[in-house]
Amino acid sequence: MNENELILAIETSCDETSAAIIENGTVILSNIVASQIESHKRFGGVVPEVASRHHVEQITVIIEQAMEEANVTFADLSAVAVTEGPGLVGALLIGVNAAKAIAFAHDIPLIGVHHIAGHIYANQLISELSFPLLALVVSGGHTELVYMKEDGDFEIIGETRDDAVGEAYDKVARTLGLPYPGGPHIDRLASEGQESIAFPRSWLEVDSYDFSFSGLKSAVINKLHNMKQRDEEVKIEDVAASFQASVIDVLVGKTKRAVEQYEVKQLLLAGGVAANKGLRNALEVEFGSSGVELLIPPLSLCTDNAAMIGAAASIKLQRNKFASFNLNGNPGLDLEQQ
């Protein structure tokens, strides 16, 4: 790797418009994130058409800010990287077409990045990665255990068969009458409550690393319904604590088994749900004094951001894995084909 390899990275896969400048795949020179959450709150979730409209409004302003803050010009750039998928297709298209325009205008190599590869490589911005490693990816759209035997090599050993963790949180939060997004509210309430309700743990087949959260979600909704019918007092702190305990038990339990079976050196937490304090604490308790090194990025790198896309892109840059001008937004992009 030559010194001062600078990547301009762009991320618009959901409801954050973000651009970053990353040096040598590890140092953040800038990471600008414009969240649309205030706009989507009133709809109770992200509306794709509204998200796309906001991205077009913001895109050049955010890229300009990222370059100015990093004090970088187009001539300094080794590559322009962009989230290619998965995500909302209309939202992805804004970042992809903006990245292509910059690559074309200034004759800079173009790199397409998988959003989940980005979440995993967010960890490279806080610590050197050592392989083999295991990543627990938890977000609004994903729940996956990813095994990496080396840089750029992704094997999904387990994934959700129905709802992603974040989705289950949002749905349970809605049932509890909490505002969108519900995850942080449940996490906060859970810390104030007791695990008084025995919700099921969805372990699936004995040897499976897959997840399933829809059964748990239904169990919570049914329980609430029954309690209301019997006029029992619902202590939502306890419901939140009991729900979160079930989620964390399964996530940590399966992760522990995978860590042992695959004999990994590091365990990485990745994705927006990595902001969850209950999950962070449980992982720290489980792995804090074990042989495996636990990496958890700071909050700002767990939620969607372009810095993580730049970090993942640096691996593709080293290998000259460039995209051509026919790069498209691909909501079904396959992580294992990266």
């Binding site: 009133r42 709809f43 509306v47 058409e49 509204v50 796309s52 409209r53 077009v56 409004e57 895109i59 050049t60 302003v61 890229i63 300009e64 187009f74 209309g90 298209l93 804004i94 992809v96 077409n97 903006a98 292509k100 325009a101 910059i102 074309f104 205008a105 200034h106 004759d107 051509s324 001008f325 026919n326 498209n328 937004g329």
Partner: protein, 238 residues
Amino acid sequence: MSKTLAIDTSSFVMGIAVTDGERTLGEITTNIKKNHSIRLMPAIDNLMKEVGVRPKELDEIVVANGPGSYTGVRIGVTTAKTLAWSLGIPVIGVSSLAVMAQTGRFFQGIISPIMDARRGQVYTGHYQTKEMLVKEVASDCLIMLEDWLVYLKELNEPVLFIGQDIELHRAMIMEGLKEQAHFATGSMMLPRPTELARLGQKMTDENVTHTIVPNYLQLAEAEVNWQKAQQEKDSAND
């Protein structure tokens, strides 16, 4: 001389032109239902190489900024504004309907470009030639075709309809306007990217690089529903 790149992806027609002042250096028009996001940048790259203009030699970008397909217009506008911003040159937005209307330059009467907007609605506008220039008489709008035909009927002038979506509505137009109605044919039905470039060159740079957005002519559906719910809430509180 001033070099202009014009981009129109507001319908499934993809149009790109490179002009040098008054002179057209080259243009591409395709009329197929294929993905603009995949094809636009390679096509721009090819055309500019063919005509020997490098990106840094461009003086301005002109883009058809709607109305039209939401995704299509966004691809065009995003590409245009990012090119313009990164090259430090102006971007100029032109109505997609105005581009279509240019075909009617030699028509004596009302020029009405038409894009279908589903559920009986169309995007259209009232244009007319004055001193050899096609001028907007009434603003572009989203309207029920039925209502638009009533408006045109009252003006009692010949009308030239332009656009491929006319085929969806020809019977209704004929019935409403009878011999008042005329229809563009062949390549006249298509928006010409060189006309887009020409229109843009005549407009002044408004310094809108960061702020240019598609002219959707309507709110997102979720936004409409939300506003309706707000109004109901407000009136319930009165």
